[in-house]
């Protein structure tokens, strides 16, 4: 099938993964877009909700800002929170999960009971609950993302770690009296690195979804912040007059989520688990 596509043969990527790769540049727009914007994110450009003109290519939003400039400025904070959120959650979760593979006892049991308790609950509701008690800031959003996303990571990594602790080479290492910390670092950790790496993009989309929802609901950002989630909320009422203020962030978020998911899907299938062909 389609052997002429060199890139597909080279990396043996599926067609879906190639589509995903093609969507990746949207992330760059999100991160570096602010350098190319014609106006500042809070400059008044034209009448509120005016249609596209040569000056403002995608028209203006509900307060008369240029939609395109606001869109170009609006990605880095959301993507940054999502990125740090997934990196931090995978890091914390991996440490907890690896520890769960080596240490056992009442402490570990209790820890995993608490993590289960957190996982039972819908993440967004938990985020809102924590936001009640905190001062409203992006740092708080990041903290809650870790709180919500680390437990499932810990579960997955723990399963992988326990699987390794049942292998013969691990038992041999135990038999020659290797200390627990050394077992963790030398025997288990190197063998679960692929799984850990695969979790980062998966939790990036999860974290991006949650961050978008949280920003949409107005937490962690001030109303003036140019941000894709905020743009969705503020331009929703003007949807019938001037849809671009909603369309641009929607297209960007869909492109990033779907792109990352497709690439991850292709890569994990290629390198991690050959038996799963979804």
């Amino acid at each position: 099938m389609m052997k002429k596509l060199a890139i597909r043969n080279w990396y043996a990527l599926s067609a879906r993964a190639c589509v995903g790769l093609a969507l990746m540049p949207v992330i760059l727009i999100g991160i570096f877009g602010s350098r190319f914007s014609a106006y500042g994110p809070i400059d008044f450009v034209d009448m509120p909700l005016s249609p596209p003109t040569p000056e403002a290519m995608f028209g203006t939003d509900f307060e008369g800002h240029d939609v395109l400039s606001r869109f170009l400025h609006g990605g880095w904070q959301l993507l940054g929170v999502a990125g740090l959120g997934s990196l931090g959650a995978v890091f914390i979760g991996s440490i907890l999960g690896l520890a769960g593979g080596v240490f056992s006892g009442h402490g570990a049991d209790l820890l995993y009971r608490v993590l289960d308790g957190i996982m039972v609950f819908p993440p967004l509701v938990l985020i809102l609950v924590v936001m009640t008690g905190t001062t409203d800031s992006e740092l708080a959003v990041l903290f809650v993302l870790w709180l919500v996303l680390a437990p499932p990571v810990a579960r997955i990594i723990r399963v992988a770690a326990v699987a390794i602790s049942l292998t013969e080479y691990f038992q041999a290492a135990v038999a020659i009296g290797t200390g627990k910390f050394r077992l963790l670092v030398q025997e288990i950790a190197p063998n679960v690195v692929p799984q850990i790496l695969a979790l980062i993009p998966i939790y990036f989309t999860a974290s991006l979804s949650l961050a978008t929802a949280v920003h949409f609901l107005g937490y962690g950002v001030s109303p003036f912040t140019p941000d894709w989630g905020v743009m969705l909320a503020e331009n929703q009422s003007g949807l019938e007059l001037q849809p671009w203020g909603v369309v641009l962030p929607v297209v960007a978020i869909v492109a990033i989520c779907v792109g990352v998911n497709l690439v991850t899907d292709g890569l994990t299938r290629r390198y991690l688990d050959q038996s799963v062909h979804m």
């Binding site: 008690g133 001062t135 849809p243 929607v250 497709l262 979804m278």
Partner: protein, 349 residues
Amino acid sequence: MPPSSASIDPVVTRQAELSFRTRLRNWLQPRSWSGFLVRRIGAGAVAVLVISLAVLVATEILPGDTARVILGQEASPERVEQLRALLHLDLPAWERYALWLKRAVFGDFGTSLVNDMTVWDFVAHRFAVTGILVLFASILAYPVALTLGVLSAVRPGSFLDRAVASLTVIFGAVPNVVTGMVLTLLFATSVWAVLPAISSISPDKPLWDQLSLFVLPALTLALGVVSGVVYNARAAMRDVMQMSYVTSARLNGLPESNVIFLQALPNALPTCIQAIGVALADTLGGAVVVEILFGLPGVGSALNQSVHNRDIQVVQALTVIIAVAVVCVFIVSDVLARLATPRDRTRRA
């Protein structure tokens, strides 16, 4: 003559002769129904307790005076003192929690800080809205998801299978807010303006007469959870279809429909039921965003509103109510999954 051997028969020990501890252990063993239920309900209760602590922990761990955070920096010291007394902030944290728990067990969640209603009065009429939303979404999502999952598992690699796989990867990634916006753009504004964008529910009419307001929100919720169910249904069904008993059923000449629906499906059903349970719990969380997006006055939008107002009493109550609902969903789905597992229906010796 030795004494009658019936009562000391070592094999047939009567229950009455076992010690209380042994009988309790038998009764609680995870394979028996009683033990299974006790364990599940116990774990659920623990989860609800952990969650009910979350509000307390959130207000306790983080720096700053809770009353000050609620009222804002410019509040007068008297108001702050008043609120501290009202929330029992002068008590140590565990005593405050015990006091709250004692009342909450009897269904008394206190009074809203913002609008002087009891929490029950504030949320009671919102349950119906969220209930209808979740029910509607479930009707849209699960039959379709199960059908697609099973069909694509039956013919792996077919066009349907590949299309469904691509769609699950796509819909599994897109956040609810964005799906909702796309649906609004498509069906409520410029493209085909057939449905209302913002659901303005009028309180005088019964909710059942205003179902059209629920179509887009329910569709949004459904699209959010459908991919997980499809994925799990497909994986479960594929695993079963590769088992040797399915092959031997085919070799015995059973028609393919019989093999799929009567031989294979019953063994894939428990996983499907549990996937639906997880998806239902997700729907309860997703309802927050969807209700706000479409302006539905449900439990989710009430939660968001009270978080914005820092109305701790209402937040705590709603959290616990949602937690109980989620835990109930999980317990029911576990019980149904166990009832549906063919292996568990056969009597063990």
